[in-house]
């Protein structure tokens, strides 16, 4: 058996295991759903947006079976984002922050959740990483931003995180914890810290140090090149960044957390290559290297 075949079998196995794991919880989920219905009226967005065919969910839309309400999702995202900003504040450069919001918002507009209130930011850390929280909160570290050479590369990085939000990858994990305490009302107040959500997402910003399923990462990569292409950019911004990060030694401290929570860049490139397989050849676009905003030293 060659390695590519072995990889395909692995990919087929992982969702199967996921489904088995989720199976035992299914009965409890239905109960929770009933309880939620009783507690408040169902909103139109509750079933989630139309989503791409998902390898992470094994083709079954788990997010639609038992969803957080849009308000709950934003409340969770706010808490997680506030905690992350407690660990690393924004880079003090309003032009930079406005620029990443423009790029990010334009790409998010091409997604299945164009009307979410999207927020983007560059945070003051030399680590190389990027983060997405439910509800449309996306952050890139200064360390990663400095590696970028063009707007299409920034677009690729933001599009990967947008992919996580659109596919609700984090919410699916959180939903499992929620089963423990399904009757709690998550949206108790509109601003500030929420104790129930704090309990749900764990200590500080540790939600960002948890790994998603690696198929969720591969899916976000595939969504990223597609979203960048939809937005009119050269779709290969993200792969270019992955090739840069691939230089870094596995144990270099700037990439430790990134490499712990994501498949290694070489695997991501190979996987993406299998998925793209020449499909994007006719979809060229500008990299907008001239317009790229370079961070102050």
């Amino acid at each position: 058996m060659n390695t590519s075949m072995a990889r395909r079998i692995m990919i087929a196995l992982v969702p199967a295991v996921l489904l088995l794991g989720a199976g035992s919880a299914a009965a409890a989920i239905d109960l929770g759903q009933e309880l939620q219905k009783a507690l408040r009226p169902k909103t139109p967005d509750q079933a989630g947006p139309s989503r791409p065919s998902s390898s992470a969910g094994g083709g079954i839309d788990l997010g639609g079976l038992f969803g957080f309400s849009p308000e709950e999702e934003v409340a969770i995202g706010r808490q997680a984002a506030g905690n992350l900003l407690g660990a690393a504040p924004l880079v003090k450069d309003a032009t930079l922050q406005k620029y990443v919001n423009n790029v990010g918002r334009w790409i998010a507009s091409q997604s299945e959740r164009p009307d979410l209130t999207w927020h983007f930011g560059v945070i003051d850390s030399n680590d190389i990483n990027a983060f997405a929280a439910p509800g449309g909160y996306v952050f890139v570290t200064k360390g990663l931003y400095r590696l970028l050479q063009s707007e299409s590369e920034l677009a690729g990085v933001l599009a990967h995180e947008i992919g996580h939000v659109v596919a609700k990858h984090h919410l699916k994990i959180l939903q499992q914890s929620r089963l423990v305490d399904m009757s709690s009302k998550l949206v108790a107040k509109t601003a500030g810290e929420n104790p129930v959500i704090k309990n749900l997402i764990g200590n500080g910003a540790e939600i960002f140090s948890r790994s998603l399923d690696k198929n969720a990462e591969y899916e976000a990569d595939r969504m990223a090149v597609t979203l960048a292409a939809r937005a009119g950019y050269d779709p290969f911004g993200l792969p270019t960044v992955l090739q840069d990060i691939g230089h870094a030694a596995k144990d270099a401290s700037g990439v430790q957390l990134l490499f712990k929570t994501h498949p290694l860049p070489d695997d991501r490139l190979t996987h993406l290559g299998d998925a793209v397989d020449g499909r994007l050849d006719r979809l060229q676009g500008p990299t907008l290297a001239q317009r790229f905003y370079h961070i102050r030293p």
């Binding site: 400095r146 597609t226 230089h247 290559g273 299998d274 793209v276 994007l280």
Partner: protein, 170 residues
């Protein structure tokens, strides 16, 4: 040839050598792939590259790298290439190439070590910062403004389907 003429010749030869070294970037094949005459899937196959094979990257166009290798010259999918592979025993040259191409290589990644990191422990210990969150939210762009921003960069939206997972029915 006298000494006076030899020095400029040597110098220009040296500059030429540096120029050549800077123009090309090293790479190696992540997996076996075809070498194409042009940067398109349907282009004529002019050779094949084995996994691990060394290539010299000359140019990039869309998702393709123009490369030179022992199998000949042509175009190969960039997703099949690991960029920036150092030649064995020439770590300095690789660092120089990274600098010259303006791309941050291993050197600058390592250089960030120990400055303000964001480790698992840092994240776990993080305390909610409402003021900073409000500031972050204040930079939000509206959908309409983002559209104007895109138009000023001559970016036009287009319809593209999501890519299927590899291994799924094609």
């Amino acid at each position: 040839m006298n000494r006076a003429t030899r020095i400029p010749i040597l110098l220009s030869a040296l500059l030429l050598a540096i120029g050549v070294a800077l123009a090309a970037e090293e790479g190696s094949m992540l997996k076996a792939d075809d070498l194409k005459a042009e940067p398109f899937r349907d282009a004529t196959t002019v050779g094949s590259l084995a996994a691990g094979q060394h290539v010299e990257i000359l140019d990039k166009q869309g998702g393709w790298f123009q490369v030179k290798s022992s199998a000949g010259s042509g175009w190969v999918r960039m997703l099949s290439v690991r960029r920036g592979e150092a030649r064995k025993g020439s770590g300095d040259a690789a660092g120089l190439l990274g600098l010259a191409s303006g791309r941050a290589g291993t050197g600058s990644v390592v250089a960030t070590t120990g400055i303000r990191g964001l480790s698992e422990e840092d994240l776990k210990a993080a305390k909610y910062n409402e003021a900073e969150l409000k500031k972050a939210e204040s930079y939000a762009t509206t959908r309409a403004d983002a559209q104007k921003f895109a138009a000023s960069g001559k970016l036009a939206a287009r319809k593209v389907e999501y890519l299927p997972a590899p291994g799924a029915a094609k």
